[in-house]
Assembly symmetry: C2
Homo-oligomer: 193 residues x 2
């Protein structure tokens, strides 16, 4: 596997991984929230790892972090998804891997927190994968997992988790805690990094 570049490791407090959609969404609030999240991470002393490219919210969150601290942004993308149709290379360091699995390995290897912005099936798959990995002890128990719940985007998913708990298939109390906040500033505080 490629390595996370030195300037995104040395002198940083660690790495934070952002999952989000390659769309902009139907409200300006999504872009604004993504940019705010990127700015906060850029100013935090943590590096940002993300899925690469500049499409939709991926470009907004990484671009905003890059504006603050370009050396600490790392985009990781599988070869077959190399940007097309007007989306360009990653902000910051641009790392190509062979497969989706390699991408997740790099995105999850050392991150101290995982933040999901609004997104589609891919974002949801990544969020559920890290929740499951934490539950199975495959990533460290101290890792934080949170969602930026702009305009209540994730309300339905969080309600579904509650229903699944009532149905006896999932454990929230004493299980994996997913932080949810409606603004980037509150989410960052609640992650307690």
């Amino acid at each position: 596997l490629p390595r996370i570049p030195a300037t995104a490791r040395r002198g940083t407090k660690g790495q934070v991984t952002v999952f989000c959609g390659a769309s902009f969404g139907t409200s300006k609030d999504y872009v604004d929230g993504a940019r705010e999240m990127g700015k906060i991470i850029g100013e935090s002393g943590y590096s940002m790892l993300y899925g690469g490219g500049r499409c939709g919210l991926m470009g907004e969150v990484s671009g905003a972090a890059h504006d603050v601290n370009p050396a600490t942004v790392v985009g990781i993308i599988p070869e077959f998804l190399r940007p097309t149709e007007g989306c360009e290379a990653s902000y910051g360091h641009d790392i190509t891997v062979d497969t989706m699995h390699e991408r997740m390995q790099l995105l999850t290897h050392r991150s101290k927190a995982f933040i999901a912005l609004p997104g589609g099936y891919g974002t949801l798959a990544e969020l559920l994968e890290v929740i499951t990995a934490k539950q199975l002890g495959q990533i460290d128990g101290d890792v934080r997992i949170g969602v930026l719940n702009i305009n209540g985007f994730y309300d339905g998913l969080l309600a579904f988790f509650k229903q699944a708990e009532e149905a006896g298939f999932l454990r929230l109390k004493g299980g994996i805690h997913v932080v949810s906040e409606p603004t980037a500033e509150r989410l960052w505080k609640s992650l307690c990094l």
Copy 2:
């Protein structure tokens, strides 16, 4: 990677993969639905691939298929999850792999359909992963994906997908179709295998 055993390949119509929880749930309806699904798959001429072991619904769905056609049930489990605490070896063929990723590779390599019964974070991660893989063209466009929506278990998730579409992050119309039915019989019919 290990191979799917010959008796689960030759003479079958193909393979169907079942994702589900290692719990029983808080209503007998979940067990009944899982057993019905297992029986239908066992009688269908398709092999059943599943995540191994005998815990909760995993044991119910695979046990019911195994009652009908033992040679066509294949459980695939990563070494670190080898059953403990009273759960035993897989029904049918019992294949051990090294990692969760290898498990998914085997579970997804050739299956013609993916069926998610009620489950927890792990089941949801698997369901979202195959939806995403189909969307990206990493699994065949002809592959069916469905959920056994016992007692409305998946209503909340499906509603969330609709909200995500309205928010502009996910495409249902013209996107990946996830079949949802409340009974095993109706789900099997709706998958049109």
